[in-house]
């Protein structure tokens, strides 16, 4: 779906990403892991086409810039951190914006908005103003908008891609799992997603693959249960960590222990 090769990105002569390569294929939910400032957001923004870069980014085997903008918007959606909206839209209006790339009646649009709002547990919030919601609720609104943009969970001939920057950061535990299982279902229908995420255990439970970013490079990438090793993680986070099997699921679990930094 999306492949990047020898990708380098820099700001003001300062390299943020240095010749990294990777991909997200159909059916893969790729977790982008790394410490603060490792370049996770930069990589996502670059894959979304927001930064200039050297190297190549291919979306469906064609360079990103060669895709028609409106059509690309139905195949690829991006949800970024800090989605502050300066104007006071209602939840309904904001989710409906995801339908911009589609030509459809207002009635059809309204049905779609209700569908994706229900998936994100927002049915009772539709007339509320977004600014009156909590951070986690706002995050769910933006997720519903992203799902609406990709027309998720409907029959589609073409695979779709989601790029999500810490979509669970403000959510409570139930909604974290709800959101990630929703993305997992989306991916299992022949689509693909790359999510930057800090919670290693959530990543382990839902992601199929992982890319570990460290020192502007890819430390390791591959199936998540082969990548989440004590050695990799201790190198990445520079602290003592333990990886043990999950007692109920087939997934590695990461345990930190009390540390003394000072």
């Amino acid at each position: 779906m999306i492949t990047f090769n020898n990708l380098s990105v820099g700001f003001d002569n300062h390299n943020v990403l240095n010749t990294i390569s990777g991909s997200a294929k159909q059916g893969q939910l790729v977790a982008l892991l790394g410490e603060n400032g490792a370049g996770k957001s930069t990589l996502l923004h670059t894959l979304a086409g927001m930064h200039s870069f050297t190297g190549s980014v291919l979306f469906n085997t064609k360079p990103l810039a060669s895709h028609a903008k409106k059509r690309l918007a139905t195949q690829r959606a991006v949800m970024m951190q800090a989605n502050h909206v300066g104007f006071d839209f209602t939840v309904f209006e904001l989710i409906a914006m995801g339908r911009y790339p589609y030509v459809e009646s207002l009635k059809m649009q309204s049905e779609k908005v209700h569908k994706y709002a229900a998936i994100m547990d927002l049915s009772h919030y539709l007339t509320r103003r977004v600014s009156a919601l909590s951070g986690g609720e706002q995050q769910r609104v933006h997720m519903a908008r992203t799902l609406a943009q990709l027309n998720a969970f409907t029959q589609s001939a073409e695979p779709k891609l989601m790029l999500l920057d810490e979509p669970t950061s403000a959510l409570d535990m139930r909604h974290q799992h709800a959101l990630l299982s929703c993305i997992k279902t989306f991916v299992e229908q022949g689509n693909s997603a790359i999510i930057a995420i800090h919670d290693l255990n959530l990543a382990s439970l839902y992601a199929t693959d992982a890319i570990l970013l460290h020192n502007k490079k890819v430390l390791q990438s591959g199936p998540i249960n082969t990548v989440l090793t004590e050695q990799n993680l201790q190198q990445m986070y520079a602290m003592k960590l333990h990886v043990n099997p999950h007692p109920y699921n087939d997934a590695p679990m990461v345990f930190s222990q009390r540390q003394e930094f000072l």
Binding site: A48, G49, M50, K69, K70, R71, L72, A73, T74, R76, A77, V78, M80, N83, V85, G86, F87, D88, F89, T90, F92, E93, L94, M97, G98, Y100, P101, L106, K107, S110, E111, H114, A118, S123, L126, T127, R129, S131, Q149
Partner: protein, 350 residues
């Protein structure tokens, strides 16, 4: 349950907007009767319709009918056009800058148009030519020149930086008003009165010929911005978000800037500087129906017409038979209302 909420939700938002629009339309109709029917040449609401069929209204003489047709009607049409344009360009500029406090006057377009026009008035005294004749063209050129200048300064690495846009606008405003102040020293007495009157705005110069002269520009701006309301709406949630949703934002911003310049340049040429309308009217509309341009823009434009008609009528009757500059009325009406709205309710922006 789901179908129930579905069938309830959509009609409520629509009728909310339609209710306000209906109210604004009723106001416009009443103000139309008022502004066409009442004035120094005769006070009778029937004057507002008498011109349609003078033979049925033999209580009015030919002079009165003529006043209505040649003075009050063009003035009414001009007020409607200016109201539509000022409200729409205000809303468009706010979308462009993603800032509810932005206005064509903020990015320097109005001031640029005014500066060039005032230069013409002042120079006409020195070089003895008829400024009135060239004023509209000078004003268009000023708006277009400033807009291109601001645009090219603000465009960095292929992207238009909104912060730079606003800052350049601030600098150009200061410069333009300094030059206007400077030029007024070179103007003679009659030109000074004209400058003074004109920088405060007036619809008094309305005539069919000037309206027709400016009509193409006004219509391009009106129709063009109207057609861009859906993508402009996405700009409100952020430029990158709009791009991810499939909007070519650089092209969109360029179109909006040009269309705003066309509209504002034409309006400044016809009426001078009428402040507060482009800033306050979108605020009022947003407080009523929220920021979504599909609902807000039509309501905003109707309110713009209401405000213009009301202000112009007041400007004509307050110190009759003399006339106040309409800019004084819009500021007197707009500023307190603006403050009240800020205090009362923050729906629409945060």
């Amino acid at each position: 349950m789901n179908t129930l909420t579905l069938s309830r939700f959509t009609p409520i938002t629509l009728s909310q907007t339609h209710k306000w629009m209906l109210l604004a339309s009723v106001c416009i109709f009443a103000l139309a009767l008022l502004s066409i029917g009442y004035g120094p040449a005769g006070w009778d609401w029937r004057l507002a319709i008498a011109w349609l069929a003078p033979e049925y209204f033999n209580q009015f003489d030919a002079l009165q009918i003529n006043v209505v047709m040649q003075i009050r009607l063009p003035r009414f049409v001009l007020a409607v056009l200016v109201g539509l344009i000022l409200a729409q360009t205000g809303a468009a500029t706010q979308a462009l800058c993603r800032n509810p406090l932005a206005d064509p006057s903020i990015i320097g377009i109005s001031a640029g148009a005014a500066m060039v026009a005032v230069a013409f008035i002042a120079l006409s005294a020195q070089f003895n030519f008829n400024a009135q004749l060239y004023l509209p063209y000078a004003s268009f050129l000023g708006a277009l020149g400033v807009t291109s200048l601001v645009y090219f300064i603000a465009k960095q690495q292929g992207q238009i930086n909104i912060t730079t846009l606003i800052l350049v606008g601030v600098a150009i405003n200061a410069l333009a008003f300094a030059i206007i102040g400077l030029l007024s020293f070179f103007a003679d007495d009659s030109a000074l009165r004209l400058i003074n009157y004109w920088t405060m705005g007036s619809l008094g110069g309305a005539s069919w010929s000037t309206i027709i002269q400016a009509a193409p520009l006004l219509l391009i701006s009106l129709i063009g911005l109207w057609r861009l309301k859906e993508p402009m709406n996405l700009l409100l949630i952020g430029e990158s978000q709009a791009q991810y949703l499939g909007v070519d934002t650089n092209k969109l911003k360029l179109y909006v800037i040009i269309l705003v310049a066309l509209g504002v340049g034409a309006v400044v040429a016809l009426t001078g500087l009428i402040g507060f309308v482009g800033l306050v009217v979108p605020h009022i509309a947003r407080l009523m129906v929220g920021p979504h341009l599909r609902n807000m823009l039509p309501l905003c434009m109707l309110i713009g017409v209401v405000v213009l008609l009301l202000s112009d009528w007041l400007a004509r009757i307050v110190i009759m038979p003399a006339e106040l500059p309409i800019g004084i009325i819009t500021a007197l009406l707009g500023a307190p209302l603006f403050i009240y709205l800020i205090v009362k309710n923050k729906r629409g922006w945060s």
